[in-house]
Structures are given as C-alpha cells and as structure tokens.
Point group: C2
Chain length 342, copies 2
C-alpha cells in the first residue's frame, strides 16, 4: 500500500509527530533527526497525502476557476490558455492548485457555490465577470469567501481585474482621427453589455476631445460576430454618406467588415480605415493586416491570481480593482497616410 507518515516514523524509530515536524521543517527538530528522517523518506519514496494534510490544516490549497462551456467559448476561447497560464504562473509557485469547473447556464447558480465553496474544495475563486451574477456575489460575500472577477464588475462590491476598455476605445478612435479619418462608426456590441458600454464610452470621448460630433446612428449594435459585422458594414456602405472608418468590437466583427468592404470595392485603408478591439493571433494575417488593440491576457490572469492571493491573506482590506493598459498595434488597415506606399 501507500507509505504513510506512520511507516516513516516506525522505520526511523521516532514518533509520527516528529516526522510531521520534519515535514514542516520545524526548528525544534535537531539537524541529525531531520537528515535521518529525510533520508528514510527518500528511501521509502514517501510523499505526504495532500488530502490528509488539507483536512488537518483546514485548507484545500486549491483555487477554482469558473468557465461556461456553453456560452463563453467564442469570447474566451482565444484567451483561455493565456489566462490560465497567467493564473497558474502566480499560484503554482505558491503550491496552490487550479481547478476548472464548468458552471451550467440555467442551473441554479448556487450549485457551484455548494459544490466548490461550501464543500471546502477551494480556498478562492476566479471567474469571468460574464458568469458572475449579483446573487452569486452576495452569497460569496455573505460567506466571506475570497474571489476575484476577470472583467469589471460594478453592480456589487467585487474585486476585479480588467483591461481598460474605455481607454482602449479612446486609443483606437484617437488613432483613426490622427490618421485623418473623420466619420467613424462603431460596429458590434449590445447596449447592455458591460464591455460594450466601456468601449463605446472611450470612443465617444475621443470624438469629443477631437471636437467631432457624436452621432447615435453611427453605432451599429448587434452580436459581435462575423455575420453581423458583414451585414452592418454592407448596409453602411450602401448609404449616401458612408463612414470613412470603423471601430469593431472584436476580430470576428472586423472580419465581417473586411469582407463587406472588399466586396463593395472600397479601398482599405485609402477610402476606409478599419480598427478593432482584441488582437487575436491572426490579426496580422488578414488582408490588409488589421490595426488592433492588444491585451496581454497572460498578465490579466496573473493579476487576477495575485489579487486573489492577496485577498485570501487579508480579507479585511477593501475590495481592490485593477485596470491594465492595452496596447495599440498599428497595421496597414488604418494607415491612410501611407496608403499605397508599402
């Protein structure tokens, strides 16, 4: 069978409490005993049972990450690996584990809480803000259970980490303005989406600062996918006075926009500039390459991880929130001034 602390104790001729102290490198144990016991542990290939340790220590040393397989996939998919890696990069060295749990869409949310939190399976929780809901937040806070949201969350006191979407909207729009575009449409996103609101806000502010009239009819709401991008832009280009630039909610929207534009025979970036949120790995590979807003999702994960650990250590501190800065990757699709040069 598995070798236990008892076996080691017997083999070393000491009490198991002594072995335990060696395990935890207690200063009360003599150097000699330590080395001797360790030697034996090595010989017998002993690894302490983490489950027993956890039971005794009353801590699972485990962090949970919520995903929604059914719904989030399109949004999370390209970032998931990096986010996970980021989280793992900070909690791994601290000997924490990462447990991934799927949260059913219509399943009463409490289940996750019971399954993960109340059962003591995890000591802390990281979740996408799209999965989180007020009810869950209240339960979690009621339990004084540490958690962090990836993505801004405002309707409740929640610690979160996010990229500065408003600033991102400003950056994209500002860049387009700087290139000389003047009539910029915003494609994709539903009015009530948290993420849309922020991005749109930045867009609007950039216009304001440039002294350009904000036009409600330049905001084309809709699902942020290729099809909507395509349809929306097709429509726009048919109008009498089409915009001369587009800010797209994400790369899929931008694909649709590219397709529609090319189909309509409108030159990019000469006649129209296209910029987009979310720098997917393939943004540089479209035709023309897409100017897009890069967010370091590894860093985002790492930040969320750090915040969570911090929160677990000092639950008394106020809810923190952290805004990371995106980075604009300028590519051909918006280089009006150099159009045709390359």
């Amino acid at each position: 069978m598995k070798v236990t602390i008892q076996d080691i104790a017997k083999a070393a001729n000491v009490a198991k409490s002594t072995v335990s102290k060696v395990l935890n490198d207690s200063p009360k144990i003599s150097k000699e005993t330590k080395t001797r016991v360790r030697e034996i542990m090595k010989q017998m290939n002993y690894t302490p049972s983490s489950i027993a340790t956890r039971l005794a220590k009353r801590s699972s040393h485990n962090i949970g990450m919520l995903i929604d397989m059914s719904k989030e996939s399109e949004y999370m998919n390209p970032f998931f690996f990096h986010i996970i890696s980021g989280i793992e990069s900070v909690i791994g060295p601290m000997k924490y584990e990462l447990t991934i749990a799927n949260v059913q869409q219509n399943d009463p949310e409490r289940n996750v809480i019971n399954r993960l939190v109340r059962s003591g399976r995890i000591d802390g929780l990281i979740s996408n803000n799209a999965i989180m809901c007020d009810e869950m937040v209240d339960t979690l806070n009621g339990l004084a259970f540490p958690f962090v949201t990836i993505g801004e969350y405002n309707s409740r006191p929640v610690p979160w980490a996010d990229y500065d979407n408003a600033e991102g909207g400003k950056m994209l729009t500002g860049h387009l303005l700087g290139e000389g575009y003047r009539d910029i449409a915003f494609i994709g996103g539903e009015p009530l989406e948290r993420i849309f609101t922020k991005r749109h806000q930045g867009y609007r502010q950039a216009l304001l600062e440039a002294g350009i009239q904000y036009r409600e009819d330049r905001i084309i709401h809709g699902v942020a996918d290729e099809n909507h991008g395509y349809q929306a832009v097709l429509e726009l280009l048919k109008s009498d006075h089409p915009p001369d630039a587009l800010v797209c909610m994400n790369n899929y929207t931008a694909f649709g926009a590219l397709k529609a534009t090319q189909q309509a025979g409108v030159a990019i970036p000469g006649m129209i500039g296209i910029a987009t949120f979310d720098d997917y790995p393939f943004s540089p590979h479209t035709n023309p390459p897409l100017t897009s807003l890069f967010i370091d999702t590894f860093e985002l994960g790492a930040t969320a991880g750090k915040m969570l650990i911090e929160r677990m250590n000092r639950p008394d501190l106020p809810f923190p929130s952290l805004l990371l800065q995106p980075k604009l990757n300028v590519r051909k699709s918006t280089l009006k001034n150099k159009a045709g040069l390359e």
Copy 2:
C-alpha cells in the same frame, strides 16, 4: 464555524454514522429518518466537506491535466479551451474535478508525479503527448496509475486518443491531386516530431496511390511557424520548377506560405494550391480562404476523458488507443478547377 456532520447528528438526534448513511442514501435507513435528516441538512445549509470525504474514501475524485506554459502555448493555444471543455463535459457530470497543473520544462519530471500522483491529489491524469516522456510513462505505469495521452504515443504502452494524422495527410494530398495539382510540396515539421511523421506518411501514401513520384526534395523541414513557411516557399518559388501545390504543417506555416506566394505574384489557387493541417478559427478569413483539415478538439478532449474514466474503472484491460477522423474543409485556396469563378 462550518456546520459538520456532527452538528447535523446532534440537531437530528441521531448518530453521525446515521447522517453519513443518509448522505450516501444507504438503503438501510428508514424513509422517515432520511427525510427528517435531509430537512435539517437543508435548514442548516450543510454541505459535506469534500476533503474529509476523500480522506475517508481514499479517493480524490479529481483528474489532473498537464500543461506546459512555456512551450506548448503556440500549439495548444487555439485548442485548449475546447479540449478542456471536452474533458469537463464527461468528467463533470460524474462529479470529478479537473485540476490544471503546469509542468516545468527542465524540472525533473518526477516532481509532477510526486506533487500530483503520489500525494493523492488526483485519481487520473490526462496529458499532451508532447509533455509525456518515457521516464514518466514508466513511473506512472509502475505505480499502476491511470492516465491517457492526447496525441499518439508509441515508444511505450500508453493509452492515447488522437486524430488520424496519417489519414489527414492523405486527405489533404488526395484533395489536391483530385483538383489536378501534380507537384505537391510538404512545408514544415521536423523529421523526428511524432506528428510530422504521421502526417508525412499520409502525404506520401496519397502520392503513391495516385502513382506520383515521391520526391525527398519536396519535403521542406523546419519549425512550423510563419517565418519558416514564408522563407521556405519564397525559396521554392524562385526555383526553376516550383511545385504547383503546398501542404502546410499548420496555419502559421500556411500564413507564411500565403504571404510568400502573394509576394511572388503567383496566383492562388490557379497557379498554386495551398492546403493546411489544423483548421484554426481564422482559416476561413485569409485571402484566399484556406482549405484546411478540421479536427474536433472538443471531441478529442471528451474522448480522452472517457478513456481515462474507463481506465480508472478497469485497470486490467489492455491499453486502448483511439483514432478520430478529421474533416476536410475545402475552401478557395485549392479550388483550381473553379479558379476565378467565384
């Protein structure tokens, strides 16, 4: 504090062993007691400690998934979410958890084994074959520990699930031949890579079956990334008799190939056909859209999950292995016969 089985027992005026039996729905407990105890559990908001349960049951009810943040990211990135989702879709309903662990590259591999396996943290393991190595396999098998590899593994007895890369090679090459291409180069992949070997084998067989001479100099080895694809194809196109079609190791290679081809002013698919392994989400969005080989990575994950569970239940059965079939998504980049039609 947390409410325990003891508290419930007291409140219900029964022994904690009775409560335990209610928890496990033992047939030896009367209906009345069951409902009464359950009522109290609900009232007191009781959730059994999963750690204590596990200690008592000697099972972690937890499955480990190995990742290599440092190295695999490029390969795994686009598939990771789907693979995880697939695994979770089968183990989740069985109340298993999924723990993600990062395996350090140069770290003596044993550490993972100790940390995860010997410590009893997990009951089963799923790993990419690129992370697995013979030493680890031997240790795992020596421990009679159940595990499954995603990706074929042949140098040791290992249960694995994979897509049929040889068949994929045949499909891509066969499709090109069917379109009338005759001189097909294979771009990317190192001779010793397991995955290259298989894909190349299918490529070769397709040529054989079509009665076309296999030419060693049509195999352009190298890292499967954009840069190599670009350089390799640029070189090829400069030669006196360039190939009239390309099979690329992955989408990045294909990007490079596209770029080089366009730069050289060679028409796709009229003058040259380009097809690639791995249907990334952006394959349809290149210019022209890339014919590529789709693999259902959700299904791959699910299959690995099922195999692992099966293996944990009946460790006596011989090592299974499963080959899933890829699907060819034909797009414009290889439609020689319809070139210019669209």
